[in-house]
Structures are given as C-alpha cells and as structure tokens.
C-alpha cells in the first residue's frame, strides 16, 4: 500500500461506512466454525496468540511464540514426548561411553532441509558450533557448557566430547535454540530472514508484529503432513482470540486466562495442560531477616499455597515443589510444611529470635506476570497472621528484570521456566559457577554437590534418589517458596482433530504435525 492511497480514501471514506451499515450484518457473516480455506495441498489452520513472532533465527529467539512457530520448521537431535520423556528426533539413538565422557548420536538417514540439501553430521556440527559462538548470543549455549568438542563420526554420527559426564545435555538439546540448520544457510547468513529446517512445515512469509505463515513440508521425514498451511496470527487480547474462535476465523486460540477459557461456548473444544513453568517466591538469603533460616522457614509454613493458587488463577493449576512435573517431580512439595501450619511458623519465628515477626519487601511485576499481584496479596495476608509484614513493590517489566538480574531485592514473586531435568532447571541458579547465582540469592556446597551427583548419575534409580534429596534440600532450607504451576489453554475449533497442547511451552503446537482438519 502506498501513501498515495490516502487521497483516494478521503473521497471514499464518506461512503464506505454507510455502505457497510446499509448492508445486513449477515451478508458478510461466515458460518461458525467455517470450513478452513484450502491451501495448495490441504486445509489452512489459523493459530492465534496475543504475542507475535519476533525473530526468525532459532539461535536467538527467547519469546514463547517464536519457539512454538519455529519448532514446526526446525528439528532438534532429541525431543520431549507428551510424558516429558526424551525421544529421538533427528538422532535415532544415543549412548554414553568412556565413563560418560563421550556421547555419541546416530543420525536419521534420508532427511532433507527445505532448501533440498541432505541432512548429515556436518550440519549438526555447524549448527551447534554456531550456537556456542559468543557472537551468536544464544542463551541456550549454556546447556553445552560441558561439551569440549563436537566431531562428526561419519556422515550419520556425531560425538560430543564432554569435560565430565553430563546427562542434562540431552535435555538442553531439545531446545529450539539448539535446532539443526543446513551448513549452507549458516555460511550464507540467511537464517535470520529465511528459516530453513527439516521439520513438518516450511517457512512462507512473515509480517513482523502481525502474522507468520508456514506450509506443509512435502518431504518431511515423519510422514505426510495433513494440514496444508499454518498461519500464526497475532490477536493482542485473549477475549478477542476467544471471539475469533467463535467466529470461525481462528481454529486454534492459545490462551492463558482461565476466565476466558471458561466462558467459551460448548461448540469450542478447550484443551488444557499443566504448563512446565512455575511460580515461586524467591528469597535472598544474603541480607536482612531473610538471611536467617528460621525466618525463611516461618514464611514457608505460613504461606497457604493452595489459597495463592485459588485466588490468583481460580484454582486452575497445581501446587508444586521445586521440580513441578516430569519423572523427578518433587513429592511432597515441601519437606518442612507441605500444608500451611501457623503453629510451626510461630515456633520458627521464636527460634529466630523474632517472636513478633519481622518485615521485608517482595517485588512483583504485573507486566511480566499478571497474576503476581494476586499471589502477593494472598501471601501478604497469610504472613500477617504470624506477624510477618510483607511490603509489596510492583515494578514495570524492565525495572523488575534489571533488579532481578542484579539481585537487588529481598524477595521476588517470579515466574520461572522449568524442565523435566532438575539440573537443567537449577544448575543455572545453584550449580558451581551458576550464571544466575546472584538472583538465586542462595548458594551451598550441598546443593552444588547434589546437582553434580544428579547430572553425572547414569542409572535411573540413582537419578531419582539424588533429585528427591535435592528437592528436600531446597525446601528444608526454604531457599525459595515454590507456589504452583498453572494450566495453559487452547480453544480448538471442532474442525481440527488430533490437536493437543504439550506441557513444554516451546512445543505447544507440536501436535499440528499429525493433526487433521475436517
């Protein structure tokens, strides 16, 4: 569109709205759950989210929707299934040798990138070398911290030479940030504008802030993709997304607000899944009354996590411990007070020498987590029952991030990303030389030892025992107060079959690779 059209607009604008008004509403109405339009090789599915695709280079994306959209174009070496177990993706199998210091992947044969080139081990080496190059700025490069070298062992095998046995590297490799890209495109530097992967869909177009379009990859190694085209549209309000699904212009609406999902008509299917993120009250052990273990334990016993869940997300979620979901989920959720216990809280306060309580400030950011204010208000009321005065400081998103990164807070209501592997989640906070050690606000040799022990353990039994001990250590020291994990929702048109959300946010749209449209 050119600016010159405004001149024409001036002349027609006077008539246009009148024309629209004069025509009965029904003339432009599409039937509810209208049959999706047909693309070249199948139906089009429109997916709506409040966010927009912000970047195309998988190494640098950080936005959930970027992960979700690019996750349909790119594959990784390994992936999570719906039970959060590691399953093959571009690697068909993997094994450790040399005391756990060599990790060998066997790669899939006959896979092609969108540009037609054949996938080989050279692409894996080039992709992961690009990820660890500081100039790329890939935040997931930290998952490869223990990888000394990656070498091709023939065209369809790669070896990771590790500085120590490392089981969490597999979990890290599921990230879209560690996607496999063609060597040719990496060398040409075209990936920021032209995504090129081996996944079920191919890139078609991108309108920043508005839409992102993909079409079925006819050469997809995982079998025929039944959906012809996926359009990811940005609709900034969840209420408008719900209306668009009702109107039949959107087939899959991604939602987070339970009150919006609850009010959808019965003709719209609502799929929900516990999200692999968690809310926690992070405490800084290093200063003031929170440096006293008994004061932190008093908080852990006084806060009613179920009530926090009820009041902030209408009970639509689950109270969790440090490891919210997956094979190593924390049970019980707290080693000290799994349920609120005011008598214990008072005992801890007395032991701390603060029988009448103490005061501290907790920061929140409703810009980053709209529910954080409600969480804080409930916790404030809970703590007041034992004499603990919690001041709430609500900050703008960037101000919160700056203070959080510098550890400039006493306590913070945080919405953190999680992973089925506790090392992947907490190595960055409590591991040796952790990048996020400052905001974590707590460090101990015991936690470092348990993290290392869990990450190097090779048997499932030893891993389970270590991670259970790790959860106990975190909650018995009331390092933070883990609160809950909430549901994610998708409003799905009845014309879409086989779509279901996945617990990992980055793979929410994964089931579109096998979904069908009637």
């Amino acid at each position: 569109m050119k600016i010159a059209r405004t001149a024409a607009l001036l002349t027609v604008a006077g008539l246009a709205p009148l024309a629209a008004m004069a025509t009965p509403l029904t003339a432009g109405i599409e039937p509810a759950q209208a049959a999706p339009t047909m693309a070249a090789s199948g139906a089009t599915v429109v997916v709506a989210d409040t966010s927009s695709v912000q970047k195309l280079d998988p190494d640098v994306v950080t936005n959930f929707l970027d992960f979700q959209a690019l996750g349909l174009i790119y594959d990784q070496l390994v992936q999570y299934n719906s039970k959060l177990q590691l399953v093959p993706d571009l690697a068909t199998s993997w094994s450790y040798s040399n005391g756990g210091k060599v990790l060998t992947f066997q790669l899939r044969h006959g896979v092609h990138f969108d540009d037609g080139s054949l996938f080989t081990s050279a692409d894996v080496v080039a992709s992961l070398q690009r990820a660890v190059n500081p100039k790329t700025g890939d935040a997931s490069a930290s998952f490869l911290a223990n990888v000394k070298t990656i070498v091709a062992a023939g065209p369809y095998a790669v070896k990771f030479l590790l500085s120590r046995p490392d089981t969490s590297v597999l979990n890290g490799l599921t990230s879209v940030n560690l996607s496999i890209m063609p060597t040719k495109a990496i060398a040409a530097g075209t990936l920021a504008k032209q995504p090129d992967g081996t996944g079920p869909f191919e890139f078609v177009s991108w309108s920043p802030g508005n839409s992102f379009v993909m079409q079925a990859n006819p050469h997809y190694w995982g079998g025929k993709v039944k959906i012809g085209e996926v359009k990811v549209e940005t609709i900034p309000s969840e209420q408008s997304i719900a209306s668009a699904v009702e109107a039949g212009t959107v087939q899959v609406g991604l939602l987070t607000q339970p009150q919006v999902a609850d009010h959808l008509p019965k003709s719209v299917r609502v799929d929900k899944v516990l999200d692999l993120t968690y809310r926690a009250l992070m405490l800084q052990d290093r200063k003031g009354p929170l440096a006293n273990l008994d004061n932190r334990l008093a908080i852990a016993c006084a806060v009613d996590r179920q009530q926090v869940l009820e009041d902030s997300v209408f009970g639509q979620g689950q109270v969790v411990g440090p490891v919210p979901l997956g094979p190593f989920a924390s049970k019980p959720v707290s080693a000290v007070c799994p349920a609120p216990n005011l008598a214990s809280a008072k005992r801890y306060l007395k032991k701390a020498g603060d029988p009448n309580g103490f005061s501290f400030t907790a920061m929140t950011s409703t810009a980053l987590d709209p529910t954080s204010s409600a969480q804080a208000t409930v916790a404030q009321a809970n703590l007041a029952k034992v004499g603990i005065k919690m001041h709430i400081q609500n900050l703008a998103g960037d101000a919160y991030i700056q203070d959080w990164l510098k550890g400039k807070f006493q306590a913070a209501f945080a919405w953190n990303g999680a992973d089925p592997n506790p090392y992947t989640m907490y190595g960055r906070y409590f591991g040796t030389g952790a990048n996020l050690g400052v905001p974590a606000g707590y460090g101990s040799a015991q936690l470092e030892k348990l993290l290392l022990q869990g990450d190097t353990a090779t048997s499932a039994g030893a891993q389970r025992a270590t991670w259970a001990q790790f959860s106990r250590a975190l909650t018995s020291q009331a390092v933070w107060i883990w609160l809950f994990t909430a549901y994610d929702y998708a409003a799905v048109s009845p014309t879409v079959h086989g779509f279901s959300l996945q617990p990992t946010n980055s793979t929410s749209l994964y089931s579109l690779r096998t979904a069908t449209v009637s």
Binding site: L9, G28, E30, P134, P208, N210, K231, A399
Partner: protein, 318 residues
C-alpha cells in the same frame, strides 16, 4: 498567505526537532536496554563474551549524543533505520502500518462528523426535543464509556451472537479486498467515531444555539428562504469555525489515539506497532512512529488554521 504557510512550516520543523530530542531522551531514561528487553531474565544466562557481542550488536553503551546524531542524520536522508527486534527496515514497517491507521482515523472522523453534525444541528433547532435528547444520550455514551469497553462489547456481541469478527482475519487492503476491508474498518471506526461524534455534537449544538438568534439568521428567515437553506447555508456556516477547530483537535488525537482500538480489533496499524516496539525497546521504531504521530498532529493543526481562512472571510482580512 504563502508567507504564513512558510512561517508555519518552519515552526513545524523546529517543533519536530524538539519532539525528536524529547523522545530520544525519554526512551533512554527508561530502565533496561534492547538486550534485556529482547531476552528478559534469560539475559542473565549469557556469558561475558556473549553479552559484549550483543551489546555491540544492539548499540548498547554507545554515547547518547552519537546515537542521536546518527539517528537524526538517517531521518533527514529518509532512512528510518532498521528495527532492532525484527531486523527489517523501519520504513517498511511504518509503510505497512501507516495506511491502516490513516484509514481508521479518517473513517472514524467521517462517522464522528455524521453523528456530531447531524445531532448537533437538528438538536439545536428544537432544544430538548426528541432528536436533541437522543443526541445528548449518544454524547453521554460517547464521552462517558471508554472506547475499550465499547470495542470489547462490540467484538464479544458480534462474535457470540452472529459468529462475526471480520477483523480477526488477516487485514485486507482497501484496494486488495474492499468489501472485507470495509467490514474490518467499520466497527473500530464506529467505536472511535462515537467519542469523536460526542465532542463534535456538543460543539456544534452550542455554536448553532449561539447563531440561531443572531440578526443575520432573522434576516435570512425574513427573506423567506427555505428552512434547509437557512439551516445549512446561513446558520451552520456561521457556526462552522468552532466545529472545524474541534474536528481538527479530534483528528489529531485520533492519529495517535487508535492504540487501544487497534489492539481490540486486531488492526495492524501504527498504534499496535508502537506498543510492540515499546515493549521490545525497539528504539528506532518507537522514535520514528512517535515522530510521525507528532508530525500528524502538527500538520492537522496547520490545515485547520488554513481552513479558517476559507470559512471565515474575517480571518482572511486579518
């Protein structure tokens, strides 16, 4: 006349220069920078070498003055820069969004003028009559109910009752698909037009009531002119100056005030671009869009002033 226009153009340039300095400084006073805005708390996961490389890439830490001069130089050559977030040219982003906002603003103005002028004129001819009371009711809703409430209500009602929400389909250009385009623009324009119409209605009514009892109105009626001619050629023309002033102010606000309605009705206009860019600390886009809003306001004011000379001969004489 020409000298006056030249003077106004010069003062417009000075104002825009001032606006550019203010926008530039205010954005830099906000906490955070492009790296933390893009990555959030994940920025903490970066190694020192990564952070240095990204700071360099996004121009974080460059002296403000050098950044400002570089941006201003680019603006003067018509190059609006490159979006930090999407790495696409700002000119292409603005070029796609500006026509949507202009179309919405103009359509809202047309609806607002129709509501405001018709209710204002006919209401003033018979104060406290049926039309006047209806107009006052419309004005009450337009001024009293925020546009986000009207917009959300409209969207929800149309979607749940008629399964109708044309804006949720990909935006269609006016010349690409005029019918869909009009459906997509009409309801947001109506939402905004109600507020505009309310302000114009009150101004028109008050101005009409003032001229209706003047001598030239009595003379026109005494000459035996038809009611239509008296109303529109004599009374309305006499009351037009304040109506034009109010319309100019409303259009200026509309050019920058479509943000919320664009969000609700999913229109890819400048308002939505601005909101996204602010949250991403995408300085080149925010600076350019804000400057365009400011320029729009100034141009509309200038055109309004020039219109006075066409409407009111006394202004020409001055």
């Amino acid at each position: 006349m020409l000298a006056s226009v030249a003077r106004r153009l010069l003062s417009m340039l000075v104002t825009l220069l001032g606006v550019s300095v203010i926008i530039f400084l205010v954005l830099r006073l906000l906490p955070g920078n492009a790296v933390t805005a893009q990555m959030g708390v994940s920025a903490g996961l970066l190694s020192h070498a990564q952070r240095v490389a990204l700071d360099h890439y996004y121009g974080v830490g460059e002296p403000f003055f050098r950044q400002y001069v570089s941006w201003l130089g680019s603006m003067l050559t018509g190059n609006l820069g490159v979006s930090l977030s999407s790495r696409t040219s700002v000119a292409s982003l603005v070029g796609a969004a500006l026509p949507v906002t202009l179309e919405l603003a103009i359509a809202s103005m047309v609806i607002g003028e129709l509501i405001g002028v018709l209710f204002g004129v006919f209401g003033s001819l018979r104060p406290r009559g049926v039309v006047d009371n209806a107009g006052q009711g419309v004005a009450l809703v337009g001024l009293g109910v925020p546009s986000f409430v009207i917009g959300t209500g409209l969207v929800t009602f149309l979607a749940s009752s008629f399964h109708y929400f044309p804006s949720s389909r990909a935006f269609a250009g006016l010349f690409f698909n005029p019918w869909l385009n009009l459906q997509q623009i009409f309801f947001p324009a109506l939402t905004l037009g109600l507020g505009v119409g309310a302000a114009i209605m009150r101004t028109t009514r008050a101005a009409m009531l003032e001229v209706v009892s003047t001598g030239f109105a009595r003379t026109a009626r005494g000459k035996g002119l038809s009611k239509f001619v008296v109303t529109w050629k004599h009374l309305f023309l006499g009351a037009l100056v304040p109506v034009v002033t109010m319309s100019g102010i409303q259009l200026g606000y509309l050019l920058g005030g479509t943000v919320v309605v664009e969000q609700i009705f999913v229109l890819p206009g400048l308002g939505r671009l601005l909101v996204n860019s602010i949250s991403n600390r995408d300085f080149p886009v925010v600076q350019s869009v804000t400057l365009i809003f400011a320029a729009g306001f100034i141009v509309v004011n200038m055109l309004t002033d020039m219109l006075y000379t066409l409407i009111d001969p006394r202004t020409r004489a001055r």
